[in-house]
């Protein structure tokens, strides 16, 4: 990984976008309502669901 230090990147912009030329609308979809997944389906793969939530070990002491 240290080999990269051999490369002169003075004045080179980092490639934070793969396709620079994409228009700004490319990130926007039409603002129309769609049916969400739903609580039951979202929890179907949870190792420990409970009362409509994902349960985890206690993190806050009373």
């Amino acid at each position: 990984m240290d080999r990269l230090n051999e490369v002169d990147t003075t004045g080179v912009e980092p490639m934070t976008q793969v396709l620079f030329e994409a228009g700004e609308t490319a990130t926007l979809r039409a603002d129309v309502p769609a049916t969400p997944l739903g609580n039951q389906a979202a929890l179907a793969n949870a190792p420990q669901p409970g009362a409509g939530y994902f349960k985890v070990p206690k993190v806050i002491e009373r």
């Binding site: 990984m1 080999r3 990269l4 230090n5 051999e6 490369v7 990147t9 080179v12 912009e13 980092p14 490639m15 934070t16 793969v18 396709l19 030329e21 994409a22 228009g23 609308t25 490319a26 990130t27 926007l28 979809r29 039409a30 997944l37 389906a41 979202a42 179907a44 793969n45 949870a46 190792p47 420990q48 994902f54 985890v56 070990p57 206690k58 993190v59």
Partner: protein, 479 residues
């Protein structure tokens, strides 16, 4: 019906002439694939109910006098990192051994809308991390061409089923070469389209700035047909491009006269002599139909592996943080605290290669190292992309090897991750630049091992890539 020799055209013609129905084909294809799979372990599971339901919809279309669809009745396999509603999707990981997705990937929806019949899910390296398919929690895949050898990776199963004839086409994913390298090792066509060409909605994220979905097929034409089906804007993937998708299979005119091809000198190092000879012969053969070949230079190539393993692991460490024991099926409960639960779940669930990459990625993103590694790698990535942009001012396409060597033996490189990473030396650059690239068969070694030729073109110019690949395939078949 001779299942291993089927093509998309052949299936269509048989369905329209009522030689056999989609239901009969699905039944026969499933029976054949289930029997053959013991040799290779390429499928992780079949989904016969889903396949028969899809086939029935195609037969109903035909009975009503409608078109069966571009992929009507075609038996298809899908890599197990692409989610299928109601059908287990494990990503080759113990951590997701019981995960049943609640939705379908966009590519899967498009395949089935076009009449495709998904037979099952294919084996792969865990979370698509690997070059030999030996990192799967469910056992390696054997190369159908030589059963003591690897099929390549990470989409080893998807390449193997097409080579073996247990699917006509398949879907894989490519982050640094995971479609092209196994296609080369198994002697089939494998396509990594332009970044953004195919929606990744429902593709389990590994490195989001590098992940692609693409097809495997036994002919350029079939691969082109599948890409036309799965390509195009999807509102559910903000990185999918608006650019219109041509009917790629209609662009295969055979006319490549005057096409200017570049052969990058940096890609001719590190090759085994047999691979080098086959690639040289292949490049020479392209002169017959009228291509002009010249040497070009892509000077940043030698830094591509370091650049890739910083960017890809950084993104992976972030993407794989979601497997925390809360939402995705597996939780290892030992310990009383949330941290213990995370540590135990991830420690037990992930295999060695995933852990290696998550740790490397976390390190390069950590405070104090971010600029030196991640930011530096992103700048080098710009230089790699710029190399290609400069080259494409002079040439229409680049031809290169896919892998420095043909399929290696199972177990040969498992203890040497750096040697394994070298498998991807020629495929990583195209991935970093986000340009379309593919592997097309280029002959066999004396031992009968396939070698693939890589074709790369500029962003969204899959048309030229397919046209050249098709012409090359014609030359190869005449031999």
């Amino acid at each position: 019906m001779d299942i291993p020799s089927l093509t998309i055209d052949r299936v269509r013609q048989a369905l329209l002439s009522r030689e056999f129905s989609a239901g009969e084909l699905a039944t026969a294809a499933l029976r054949f694939a289930e029997a053959e799979n013991a040799k290779t372990n390429a499928y992780l599971r079949f989904c016969p109910e889903r396949a028969m339901a899809a086939a029935q919809r195609v037969d109903e279309r035909i009975a009503r006098g409608e078109d069966p669809g571009v992929l009507g009745g075609v038996p298809i396999a899908v890599k197990d990192v692409i989610v299928t509603k109601g059908v287990k999707t494990t990503c080759g990981s113990r951590l997701l051994a019981e995960y049943i997705p609640p939705y379908d990937a966009t590519a899967v929806i498009r395949i089935e809308e076009a009449g495709g019949v998904i037979l099952g899910k294919t084996n792969c390296d865990e979370f698509a991390m690997g070059s030999s398919n030996e990192n799967s929690a469910f056992g390696p895949v054997r190369n159908p061409v030589a059963l003591d050898r690897v099929p390549g990776g990470s989409s080893g199963g998807s390449a193997a089923v097409v080579a073996q004839g247990t699917a006509v086409v398949s879907l894989g994913s490519d982050t640094g070469g995971s479609i092209r390298q196994p296609a080369s090792f198994c002697g089939v066509v494998g396509v990594t389209p332009t970044y953004g060409r195919v929606s990744r909605y429902g593709l389990t994220a590994f490195a989001s700035s590098l992940d692609h979905i693409g097809p495997f097929a036994r002919s350029v034409k079939d691969a082109a047909t599948v890409l036309s089906v799965i390509g195009g804007r999807d509102p559910r993937d903000s990185t999918s491009a608006e650019a219109p998708v041509p009917d790629y299979s209609a662009c295969l005119t055979g006319d490549v006269k005057g096409l200017k091809l570049g052969l990058p000198v940096e890609y001719l190092k590190h090759l085994t002599s047999e691979t080098g000879d086959l690639i040289s012969r292949g490049v020479d053969q392209l002169k017959a139909p009228g291509c002009q070949v010249r040497e070009i230079s892509l000077p940043a190539t030698e830094y591509a592996i370091a650049c890739y393993y910083i960017i890809a692991t950084a993104e992976a460490s972030s993407n794989l943080a979601r497997y925390d024991g809360v939402r995705y099926t597996s939780r290892t409960p030992a310990g009383d605290t949330l941290s213990d639960m995370y540590r135990n779940t991830r420690g037990e669930g992930f295999g060695a290669e995933c852990k290696r990459r998550i740790m490397l990625g976390t390190y390069v993103l950590s405070a104090g190292y971010y600029d030196a590694y991640y930011l530096k790698a992103q700048k080098v990535r710009t230089l790699i992309a710029r190399d290609f942009a400069n080259a494409f001012q002079e040439v229409d396409a680049i031809v290169a090897p896919v892998s420095p060597f043909p399929a290696f033996k199972l177990g040969e490189k498992v203890d040497d991750p750096l040697a394994m990473y070298l498998s991807d030396i020629f495929t990583i650059t195209g991935s970093l630049a986000g340009i379309p690239c593919m592997s097309v068969p280029c002959g066999n070694t004396a031992e009968g091992l396939p070698v693939g030729m890589q074709i790369l073109t500029k962003h969204f110019d899959e048309t030229t890539m397919f046209r050249l690949a098709d012409a090359f395939e014609n030359v190869q078949r005449k031999q």
